[in-house]
């Protein structure tokens, strides 16, 4: 036993667990031939619409393994259903960490579900990487050095909207529609943050809806009656489509700023009516697979080929499948750069050292940057205007790089 004590604690765990390790100090779940990665996704339950993200990531690692793995190691991607229920997430994550002995978790999905494991992952010092939620709290390296976000957070996008209104419509009256939960409120915080004192002066009406509401028609009527000429619309596709239809029916044509979550052709603009959706402004960072602009784009072509071969049952019009494929490239790059030093410390170090990494599937010019104090990988977006066919980009790539919050 004396000899065991001289090893690092990580190696002791691996040693006791009987796992053959190539380099002393490699994370549990790492062997000469395999890296175990854990994940939870809502394959059932109220949020199962997101489950295609987990499926497309499984497909992405299948492709990695088919092409030789990463530095000779195959990825064993273990993904469990948590039904979007926080206690179940905690159970499944403990199973992944303590029983399956994964090296790290990747893209665990949902805000309440990740909140339930946030402290556990940091206490256990297991990399909790590129979580699939836009909440703002995932980039706090000082308090939670093992947790890292991925996508631009909702507050950042809210700030982009706030700044746009101040610069382009400084004398307008603003109406705000938002979903009454963490996602909607985070956006509103961002808008308020950017507009400062002007928020109270310019915003004439705020309306919210519950995700369980049947329709937002009454909210739209009330917002129109406020006399607003700018609408900040923070809603998911179903409600965004309803809002667009209702606005057309009652003849209200404000400057319409729609959040990126709903700015998709298939889920929102087509059901609402492409004509009625003309002129809607949004921000985005991903390429929409339905946008004619990307029909011949090499990345989207590569993505289509990937979908055909590895996820043939997946919906090729669903932007979530681009999302899964995009974020997967970050994970691959982290493990490639880590080489044969696959300790949890080194994996975190690699995750925190992206330098202008081009994330496939995102808009041209968007890169991931991280650092010891910056745990927000993608923080760039571009504004788009829907022209009846596709989202036309305008203006510069807006960077909201933060050091830490």
């Amino acid at each position: 036993m004396g000899k065991t004590y001289t090893l690092t604690s990580g190696a002791t765990v691996a040693f006791l667990a009987g796992i053959g390790v190539a380099v002393a100090g490699n994370a549990p779940g790492v062997t000469d031939t395999e890296i175990k990665i854990g994940n939870t996704n809502p394959y059932s339950g109220p949020a199962s619409v997101y489950s295609t993200i987990g499926k497309s990531i499984s497909a992405c690692f299948a492709e990695v393994n088919d092409t030789g793995g990463i530095n000779g190691r195959k990825i064993n991607f273990i993904t469990y259903d948590d039904g979007y229920s926080p206690p179940k997430t905690k159970e499944q994550i403990r199973k992944l960490v303590e029983k399956d002995k994964v090296a790290l978790t990747f893209q665990t999905l949902g805000t309440p579900t990740n909140s339930a494991i946030h402290r556990y992952m940091n206490k256990k010092k297991v990399p909790h990487l590129f979580v699939a939620t836009g909440a703002t709290k995932w980039g706090q390296p000082d308090k939670f050095p093992w947790t890292m976000g991925f996508q631009p957070n909702y507050q950042t996008i809210g700030r982009i909207f706030g700044n746009y209104i101040l610069q382009n419509h400084p004398k307008s009256k603003v109406a705000v529609l938002f979903q009454n939960d963490d996602y909607g409120k985070d956006y509103v915080i961002g808008v308020k943050d950017a507009m400062g004192d002007q928020y109270a002066k310019m915003v004439v009406k705020e309306e919210s809806y519950e995700v369980t509401d049947p329709t937002v028609a009454s909210q739209i009527i009330s917002l129109k009656n406020s006399g607003a000429d700018v609408l900040v619309n923070i809603s998911i596709p179903k409600f965004a489509a309803q809002a667009i239809k209702k606005m057309d029916a009652i003849g209200w044509k404000p400057v319409h700023l729609l959040n990126d979550v709903a700015a998709t052709i298939k889920a929102t603009y087509t059901p609402a009516g492409l004509d009625k959706s003309k002129g809607i402004l949004s921000v985005t960072y991903l390429k929409d697979p339905n946008d004619p602009e990307w029909a011949n784009d090499p990345e989207i072509k590569a993505w289509r080929a990937f979908m055909t071969k590895y996820y043939p049952k997946g919906d090729r019009a669903n932007a979530f499948n681009v999302y899964g494929w995009a974020v997967c490239s970050l994970m691959i790059d982290v493990l490639e750069r880590a080489g044969d030093n696959l300790s949890r410390d080194n994996i975190m170090k690699m995750a925190a050292s992206f330098k202008k990494f081009r994330v496939r599937g995102t808009l041209p010019g968007i890169v991931a940057n991280t650092g010891p104090a910056d745990f927000y990988p993608v923080e760039q977006m571009q504004m788009v205007r829907f022209d009846g066919k596709g989202n036309v980009r305008f203006g510069p790539i807006i960077s909201a790089e933060t050091s830490s919050e």
Partner: protein, 356 residues
């Protein structure tokens, strides 16, 4: 249980003067009563020693089974023994969990003081909900409680409650480590939950075997006859609702302490439906069945997922089949064991038993 459900009822029917046909049955050389006692003792010993034989993660799962069993037992008291349907028991768990959570997170009260208040508040809530529910029978009561379950997550998000409930963000709960050196944290939480579990199971056992229990069951079987015999049905029904709420409140408080996090999404309508399914699968009007039900809620989705993963390894789309597999297993269970797992076990035990 009536004699007619027993396989050897034909032999008993003519000769037995005593109403209890079990008197003369023997199994493994023991009378039925001895057998039942020794099974309880063996079961308790296994429950007590199990945490030392498995890893911490499995202990954590078993701790969850304990509080889920308490909740299923609470529902079983209401539905199985008293005949009132509820699709809303996730709401009482939520109330209990948030009572404990708010006491711990906002008022910094030690976790062990939160269990009883959570139960008491849920008793009051259950009793008060039970009063108007007296006018509702069967399906209408199920609908009213369904509304309770769907409204609860929304109420927890309500902005004016946010300073206490944490709103959509939920509450992160901190608690002290195991106070006993040789127990790991997970083992400590297991025994902590087990203590309340054993108390509540014994309580339920005494409740249904006494005068109150007979009244509850009489109301279930024939409310008109029960009230004719002088049973105050309204008081009993409302009180049963309260007691059922108490059980779920304690279960909710334990869940908050064990999981260390609560959010509105922890107590959705799906959770309420799972409690109902677990009660039916375990066995209606049976106390030990609640343990089977609790284990069912926790392990069954994992098992279905493992089945799907084993059959469709490598196909990313297969994850959609998890609940199909869940459904198939459920249909099989209901077909093979129409009286629930507990009824199935009892039936087999009686088949094994021979008249001695």
């Amino acid at each position: 249980m009536t004699a007619s459900t027993l396989p050897d009822s034909g032999a008993n029917a003519g000769s037995a003067r005593r109403p209890n046909p079990e008197e003369s049955l023997r199994i493994f050389g023991m009378s039925m009563q001895q057998f039942r006692r020794s099974s309880v003792i063996v079961g308790l010993l296994i429950i007590l020693l199990l945490p030392f034989t498995v890893e911490d993660f499995a202990v954590f799962q078993m701790t969850q089974v304990i509080y889920l069993s308490i909740a299923v037992l609470g529902l079983n008291l209401l539905t199985g023994f008293n005949g009132q349907f509820s699709l809303g028991h996730s709401a009482f768990m939520a109330l209990g969990a948030y009572t404990a959570g708010i006491m711990m997170a906002q008022w910094e009260i030690a976790y062990y003081w939160t269990i009883i208040p959570a139960g008491v508040i849920c008793f009051a809530a259950g009793f008060l909900f039970g009063l108007p529910a007296l006018r509702l029978e069967g399906l209408y009561l199920a609908l009213a409680t369904f509304a309770l379950a769907t409204a609860t997550p929304q109420l927890l998000k309500y902005e004016h409650f946010e300073p206490w409930t944490g709103g959509v963000q939920g509450l992160d709960l901190f608690k002290d480590d195991s106070p006993i050196a040789f127990l790991s944290n997970d083992q400590w939480w297991y025994y902590f939950s087990l203590f309340f579990g054993v108390l509540l199971f014994i309580g339920a056992w005494n409740l249904v075997r006494g005068r109150t229990g007979r009244a509850m069951i009489a109301i279930r079987d024939n409310p008109i006859a029960a009230s004719t015999m002088g049973i105050n049905t309204s008081v009993y029904k409302a009180t049963t609702f309260g007691v059922s709420g108490f059980y779920c409140g304690v279960a909710g408080a334990l869940s908050a302490i064990v999981v260390e996090f609560i959010a509105p999404e922890s107590f959705t309508i799906i959770h309420a439906i799972l409690l109902l399914i677990a009660m039916v699968i375990g066995g209606l009007a049976s106390i030990p069945a609640a343990i089977i039900g609790g284990a069912f809620i926790l392990y069954m989705p994992n098992f279905s997922e493992a089945v799907v993963d084993a059959f469709f390894a490598g196909d990313p789309s297969s994850k959609a089949l998890v609940w199909v597999s869940f459904g198939v297993v459920m249909i099989i269970v209901v077909y093979i064991m129409p009286m629930g797992v507990a009824g199935f076990i009892r039936w087999n035990v009686q088949k094994l038993a021979r008249r001695g």
